[in-house]
Amino acid sequence: MNNFEPKIVAFTCNWCSYAGADKAGMMKLKYSADVKLIRVMCTGRVDTQFVMTAFREGADGVMILGCHPGDCHYRTGNVKALKRYKLLKKTLVQFGINDKRLKLDWVAAGEAELFQKVVNEMAETVKELGPLHLTGNVEQGGK
């Protein structure tokens, strides 16, 4: 059996996904303790450097969870997050990081079950990928 316990950081927006996680809590929906949340006001706040820093500091997987398109509390922050995500996915491969280690998804405040599902799926995915071994540039912080 695979006993690897991955470290996964999930950037969650205050209004939708963090609230969805809170609701999962209220409903006592169990999910992998490997996933730990960082609350930001909007996924639009998620700098690509946050993701790279998380990988560098030991994360095996990173998630960005925000409001569904059209529902952003700040109108369009999530769309900007999506654009950066698409670009970053491509860049990750160049750094030798499997792009499955980064996942963006939309989870609304009411979607507690969905929250549980997407974080558990990510935990499984990363568990299968095994620990992240960084090499070269990323490990040295781009210096």
Binding site: K7, V9, N14, Y18, A19, A21, D22, A24, G25, M26, K28, L29, K30, Y31, A33, K36, L37, I38, R39, V40, M41, C42, G44, R45, V46, D47, T48, Q49, F50, T53, A54, E57, G58, A59, G70, C72, H73, Y74, R75, T76, G77, K80, R84, Q116
Partner: protein
């Protein structure tokens, strides 16, 4: 140099047993003590209870920490509770950091050992983060309590009167030459069959006589600057060429030689080049259509000048550009009648006695082209009438949605026709029927009882309207063809023309049907996505008269409860700021800001955040390549520290 370590207090809340049963809090406390990172560590119970809060305050006063970690429930639940207590004892709110070990850990983790480890990681992250906290300040700003309303239909009228009653100055901007909107073009409002002009007349007089309300008819918004509490609205008031001394006596109408189709009568009647919409309009004064008036075309006619008993004609009037300061805006631009001319099978504009429902309303209106007489093009009264429901609606090539308001107006036809032509036969050809509430449903049953024949068509897209001599035949799936004298197409409601441009100008969003998007469909239907800009009436989506009025009152109610003369409004605390020294003038932040809160200072060559507009999403910060933009309380350093703490082993 000896740098003193910041003093951090850690409160571990048992939350009855909600946390303590699933996380080994004594073990967490022991670990925390062992790290030497904390000046105070305590496991306490129910920190949010009155006793708990008192205890919390006492401990803060005793230890005077530089940072406070409350490992308990979600910050969305109690962050403010503990921040407020901290503020009360003189510690800045920024120094309170919650670790959400209930919703994020104890309630969702099966294994107590794993839960305990996760709680430690979150406390470590909170610790790293709180050390970097910078003071946050509550900022207040003086606000203008006055209101500008865009659109002078029934919603705008109601909004103006409501705001004025609260003592606010109101500017009511109307594109058309006078107030009244779409309701004034109807005779009676279903299902109560209230006389529409009688609903509006007293309100119009009240507005005319109200010194708080400035009516700007023939006027359009050209630009909106500023923000909630302090908008600057630019308005272009078109020249009317008739001064305000005109009382609307209509003496000039008879002498004017130019006759054109009247927009007010939807082309069913005529008006002159000098005209007013209806007697008793507000403003009362007539207006000269300079595109048609012979004075303006070739200077060949001044007939209205001697005819006017008040000397009100003034050909030299110029358009005016006004600048108005208000604290809030209400958009009440209404809707537009659905266009059915693209559907050849419906015979609109090709078969002479095929009308739209709004055109029928004009025929039946006492202020209409024929004084309210329902008649065919040849002047005779129709003895049989068919109303086609959902004409051009519920189809992708037309209006894809149900407007929800047309059915009750469509069945009103029978009620109005029978008053004038008791023997007339009325058929309502429908697929679905949508009635809201018991009153509308009772009205429907009354129509059935009074003789309207409801004919169910199984697919309204199969309807064919064919001219057969003097008669019109209607064919369609699921019913036997009928022949009638007159056909009325019940059209739905579309967003008013100019909606997109206005949305751009106001920087607010539209929903998928093209109407202005509510801040929240259930909780804030009359708020837009931008604070201080409200949506009322049909501009917020098709609705009936009652809902239009209610939305208007709701919007103004919200305004007058927040913009109070003499009271400053609180601004968003968690805004972004741009460091002048670091800004590289790339303007990326300007391009990503969803609120247009960032402007460029050409002189200093830097971008500047207007904090009164900024809502603190932090998108500019994530896009800033030089690290000049900073999100208060969510700084890069704080988030890096949090990441580091969370992943610490």
């Amino acid at each position: 140099m000896n740098v003193e370590r910041p003093k951090i207090a850690l409160f571990l809340c048992e939350c009855s047993t909600n946390i303590s049963n699933f996380i080994d809090l004594p073990a967490v406390a022991d670990w925390a003590e062992s790290t030497k990172d904390f000046c105070f560590v305590e496991v306490s119970n129910l920190l949010c209870s009155p006793d708990g809060k008192k205890h919390f305050a006492e401990k803060l006063m005793e230890h005077k920490p530089d940072g406070i970690i409350v490992a308990a429930c979600s910050p969305k639940l109690h962050e403010k509770t503990f921040q407020d207590i901290a503020e009360e004892v003189g510690i800045n709110m920024s120094r309170v950091q919650m670790a959400n070990i209930r919703e994020n850990v104890s309630w969702v983790t099966k294994d107590k050992k794993k839960a305990t480890e996760k709680a430690k990681a979150m406390i470590k992250a909170a610790l790293q983060r709180v050390i970097l906290a910078e003071d946050l300040e509550k900022v207040t700003m003086e606000a203008i309590p006055d209101v500008l309303i865009i659109g002078g239909g029934i919603a705008g009228i109601e909004a103006a009167l409501t705001a004025s009653k609260a003592g606010r100055k109101v500017y009511l901007v109307e594109k058309d030459v006078s107030l009244g909107g779409s309701v004034i073009k109807t005779e009676e409002v279903a299902p109560n069959m209230e006389c529409s002009p009688c609903l509006l007349a007293p309100r119009l007089s009240e507005i005319r006589d109200d010194p708080n309300i400035t009516v700007l008819a023939s006027s359009e918004i050209t630009d909106v600057l500023g923000f909630y509490g302090n908008f600057l609205v630019k308005v272009r008031k078109k020249a009317r060429y008739v001064e305000e001394s005109c009382i609307g006596c209509e003496a000039c109408f008879d002498v004017c030689p130019v006759t054109v189709k009247s927009e007010f009568h939807l082309g069913l009647g005529n008006r002159k080049a000098i005209y007013a919409l209806f007697p008793g309009s507000v403003p009362a004064s007539a207006v000269i259509d300079s595109d048609l008036c012979k004075h303006f075309i070739d200077n060949s006619c001044d007939a209205c000048v001697p005819a006017c008993p008040f000397g009100s004609i003034n050909f030299d009037e110029k358009d005016e550009e006004l600048e108005i300061n208000v604290g809030a805006l209400v958009v009440a631009t209404g809707s537009k009648d659905g266009d059915v001319s693209n559907f050849a099978e419906l015979g609109y504009k090709t078969i002479k006695n095929v009308y739209t429902l709004p055109e029928f309303e004009r025929l039946a209106s006492s202020n209409g082209p024929f004084g309210g007489k329902i008649q065919l093009r040849n002047g005779e009264q129709p003895l049989s009438i068919a109303v086609i429901h959902c004409a051009g609606s519920l189809r992708e090539d037309g209006i894809p949605y149900c407007s929800g308001t047309c059915c009750v107006d469509a069945i009103k036809v029978g009620e109005l026709v029978r008053k004038q032509i008791p023997a007339a036969k009325v058929f309502n050809v429908h697929n679905d029927l949508v009635f809201v509430g018991p009153k509308e449903n009772a009205f429907y049953r009354k129509q059935v009882k009074d003789g309207t024949q409801f004919i169910k068509c199984s697919d309204l897209k199969t309807i064919q309207i064919i001219e057969k001599g003097d008669k019109i035949r209607i064919d369609g799936k699921g019913f036997k063809s009928i022949k009638v004298d007159m056909v009325i197409l019940s059209t739905g409601l579309e967003p008013a023309s100019g909606t997109n441009e206005l949305a751009d100008m106001l920087n607010i969003d539209l929903g998928k049907d093209g109407f202005f998007k509510a801040d929240h469909d259930l909780l804030n239907e009359t708020g837009s996505v931008l604070e201080g800009v409200y949506v009322a009436g049909c501009s917020a989506g098709p609705c009936n008269v009652a809902t239009s009025v209610t939305r208007a009152r709701s919007a103004v109610g919200d305004i007058i409860s927040k913009l109070i003369p003499g009271r400053e409004i609180e601004l968003e605390i968690l805004t972004s700021v741009i460091d002048e020294e670091k800004c590289g003038a790339c303007k990326l932040c300007i391009s990503v800001c969803p609120y247009k809160a960032i402007s460029f200072d050409e002189e200093k060559n830097i971008s500047i955040v207007t904090e009164a507009i900024c809502r603190g999403c932090g998108t500019c910060v994530a896009s800033c390549p030089s690290g000049a933009a900073k999100a208060k309380h969510f700084t890069d350093d704080q988030i890096y520290a949090e990441i580091g703490g969370l992943l610490y082993e």
